[in-house]
Amino acid sequence: MSSKDLSGNHHHHHSNDENGTTTTTITTVTQTNHNPPLHQNHLNLFNINIRAEFAHHDPTIARINNGSFGSCPNSIIEAQQRYQLRFLEQPDDFYYNHLKPSILRSRQAIKTLINANHVDEISIVDNATTGAAIVLQHVKWCFFENKFNPGDTAVMLHYAYGAVKKSVEAYVTRSGGKVIEVKMPYPVSSNDEIFEAFKKALELGKSGNRKVRLAVIDHITSMPSVVIPVKELVKMCRLEGVDCIFVDAAHAIGSIEVDVQDIGADFYTSNLHKWLFCPPSIAFLHCRNPELSNLHHPVVSHEYGNGIAIESSWIGTRDYSAQLVVPEALEFVNRFEGGIDGIRKWNHEKVVEMAEMLVKAWGTNLGTPLDMCASMAMVGLPACLGIKSDSDALKLRSHLRNCFKVEVPIYYRQPKDGEVDPVTGYARISHQIYNTDDDYYRLRDAICNLVSSGLTCKGFQD
């Protein structure tokens, strides 16, 4: 595989040897012009000028953290602003005549995208954090209404997202549930390690005559980022008779294939502003059996009792415009060859390529095998940087932002006893269509710079 830009200055060759090991040869000719190459061959662009679509991105920043806040092209922002204007022009007319059908349109588009059975199963909410609150509040009621018994357990990954952990504390622990964390090793070398750990947690959850009432499973964990084999884990939960199987897939849509029927969870939530080019913020909550589940949006409006999808479509006066541009976002991705699948594949190829480049440059390792990465990869940082805590990781992140204008989240990994010169820091690099190779060279060089100047996290300011 190779990619040639317009000026023919960069050549990236992937070649597989007999063992299937991929080597990357990068031949670089330094460009003297200031225009980064437009991706041509692998992403056929029909009338899209990527630079123009993302012209609002700060051009001085090497923006390799698409995972945290996502990104949105100009044409979608403009579509959103048209909706905002319609509301401001005549809000009553917008509310009575346009809002509901527009939200329905978005829900229908999402239903098709994720292979749901029926549009009733799709609710649109602000973000995965809200989706989690909805599911967990339902679990709270199950405890209070004595459907679950005090001491019954909830299983979630140790690497679950911080907000979700807090939500589980706020709703499940507080109402008498007991939380069991799935302790996975990191770095992780295969799905088997995940199956092992999950099985152990389920067994612990059932011990002492308890029932596992809730499983919270990430589709792609946030920090450290790992693609989790959710389909298999959901199967394991079904075999155990877990009442509520909830997949937190915040990162999934747009970076990995999503087929909710195939995955088979009770509840599945994903953000569309992270990897599907929608503006902040919009997520869907898929509910396999909405009538039976009795979910409610915590912000109660006059729609209370009309089903979670309808309740979520009106939670008081606010700006719903981000929820209305899903059709436009899908139109945008379909301008690329292969649509969202083509984009996903491209992002994956590129992030893998760049991850391997960095690992080679720094002499470190990846956090997971490449087939457990989607559009993000965890790249080990040189041990000499001395990352010894979460706060060190944050300091390094700020330092990279302030001194090198590189935006990338850093993860601190606690070393095991006895490890010699452990890799304790990982950079979570991402690739989205606006990225250029230069972004990753800048990260590479920044870290090499820090290493050669002997700087460690001790030396960074708070």
């Binding site: 609002h56 991105h57 700060d58 920043i61 953290n65 945290s68 806040f69 996502g70 949105c72 509301f87 401001l88 022009e89 005549q90 809000p91 009553d92 007319d93 509310y95 009575y96 602000d126 973000n127 995965a128 954090t129 809200t130 989690a132 609150a133 967990l136 509040q137 009621w141 209070f144 911080g162 907000a163 807090k166 939500s167 504390e169 706020a170 709703y171 507080r174 109402s175 953000n271 502003h273 503006p279 902040p280 913020s281 409610h296 915590p298 912000v299 109660v300 409006s301 006059h302 729609e303 209370y304 939670i315 008081g316 006066t317 606010r318 700006d319 981000a322 700020s398 932002r401 935006e407």
Partner: protein, 465 residues
């Protein structure tokens, strides 16, 4: 005194040395020493995005936002899009704190920790009621303990009570307030009676929810007095739903004395949709309030929890400083605006009442920037459906946007009558905001007169699905 403007009014008021006679010596009035105030044509420009040709006299439902605030909002939105991480870490928390601090002064709260910013009053109600729900579930309240609400409470609030209180085993006491109403004393005595009746079987009343300005029908409620009555009657906590208050009447939360007080800022305070302030009086109880959307900030206090509920667009919450600049371009700042809105809406209400031969639903001193004006009885508004059908008809056929309220008669023989001696059962809630002109109300006046002349009756309208 009323300063109802017309299209042709191009008054350019010049004030060299603004006389600071008004006793408002807080920082908000310093800016009234402007050389010139905003002109009528500048106001028109600020609201140029409003649909021309529509008589927009429903500012109460969704509010309104001037062009310069929308532009300021876009600048904040752009900052996020440019470099979201930098915005999140380095700008957002400070900007939310800035907004909260200004709001604290605006409503006379003691401490900024008492001021949380949420999406809207509906969200605030969910926060307070979820807190009540936990108390039932965790045995601090007993099954059957009661929550008090007004009969005309906003529908979302009623449903929230059902979702969090009734479902958890609590009971509800409904207090009916009179409408049409003739005096503040009527409200006070009805409330006292209703609360006492509700407590007759010895139930403990845990929370009272009182509107500061009811929505439909719209009346200013003497909340300070009602809060006192609640305290006298042993009600644990009082929550004032003041969705309409900030920017239409004076708000002094300390003086009002409630435990919780919420007001939207996008209705009458020129913020874009949406933003509301939830005030929680410092006390050991208020530390147990939580935002229902739980983030990593859980446990750091409601204000901090509300400042981050996951990735979303917080820009509408960051514009309080720009809004204060905006209102200070008007003579008298926000107080001047409130006074002129009130005077104008009363003037227009009287004009309509005279033309239609009907009445105002409450005396002027119980009207904020809105007024309830009786509709001619011959229109036949005899149900909630009639009211919404008539509203749609006015929008579609006459391009008048105004909410209609159906008020059933208490007694078949007694009730307010119009000049034709029929009973008045339909009321329009007209509003006045700085962008309105007299033509808006003339258009409405003429539309209704046309309907009367044509022998129109709501029976002729078909309900929308």
């Amino acid at each position: 005194m009323g300063e109802i403007r017309s299209h042709e009014d191009n008054n350019n008021t010049n004030n060299e040395d603004e006389d600071n006679n008004n006793n408002n010596h807080n920082h908000l009035s310093k800016k009234s020493r402007l050389l010139s105030f905003i002109t009528q044509s500048q106001i028109k420009q600020e609201f140029a995005h409003h649909h021309t040709g529509v008589a927009r006299i429903n500012n109460g439902s969704f509010g309104s936002c001037p062009g310069s605030i929308i532009a300021a909002q876009k600048r904040w939105q752009l900052k996020f899009l440019q470099q979201p991480d930098d915005f999140f870490f380095n700008q957002l928390p400070a900007q939310i704190l800035r907004s909260r601090t200004l709001i604290k002064d605006l409503i006379n709260a003691d401490d900024v920790s008492e001021v949380s910013i949420v999406d809207n009053a509906t969200t605030a109600a969910a926060i307070v009621l979820q807190h009540v729900g936990w108390a039932f579930a965790e045995g601090r309240f007993n099954k059957g303990d009661a929550v008090v609400m007004l009969h005309c409470a906003f529908q979302a609030v009623k449903k929230s009570i059902e979702a969090y209180v009734t479902r958890a085993g609590g009971s509800v006491i409904v207090v009916h307030l009179p409408f049409p109403v003739n005096s503040v004393e009527e409200i006070v005595s009805e409330f006292r009676l209703g609360l006492a009746k509700g407590k007759l079987n010895g139930r403990k009343v845990r929370l009272a929810i009182i509107d500061h300005i009811t929505s439909m029908p719209s009346v200013v409620i003497p909340v300070r007095e009602l809060v006192k009555i609640c305290r006298e009657e042993g009600v644990n906590q009082v929550f004032v739903d003041a969705a309409h208050a900030v920017g239409s009447i004076s708000v002094d939360v300390k003086d009002i004395g409630a435990d919780f007080y919420v007001s939207n800022l996008h209705k009458w305070f020129f913020c874009p949709p949406s933003v509301a302030v939830l005030y929680c009086r410092k006390s050991s109880l208020s530390s147990d309030l939580h935002h229902p959307v739980v983030s990593h900030e859980y446990g750091n206090g409601l204000a901090i929890e509300s400042a981050w509920i996951g990735t979303r667009d917080y820009s509408s919450q960051l514009l309080v400083p720009e809004v204060i600049d905006f209102v200070n371009r008007f003579e008298g700042g926000i107080h001047g605006i409130m006074q002129r809105n009130h005077d104008a809406v009363i003037e227009m209400a009287k004009m309509l009442a005279k033309s239609w031969g009907t009445i105002l639903g409450s005396p002027p001193e119980m009207c904020p920037s809105m007024a309830m004006i009786g509709l001619p009885s011959c229109l036949g508004v005899l149900s909630d459906d009639d009211a919404s059908n008539l509203r749609n008809h006015l929008r579609d056929q006459f391009r008048v946007e105004v909410p209609i309220h159906y008020q059933p008669l208490k007694d078949a023989e007694i009730g307010p009558r119009d000049e034709g001696c029929g009973f008045i059962t339909g009321y329009a809630r007209i509003s006045h905001q700085v962008y309105n002109t007299i033509d808006d109300y003339i258009k409405f006046r003429d539309a209704v007169n046309q309907l009367v002349q044509d022998g129109f009756n709501c029976k002729m309208l078909v309900s929308r699905g």
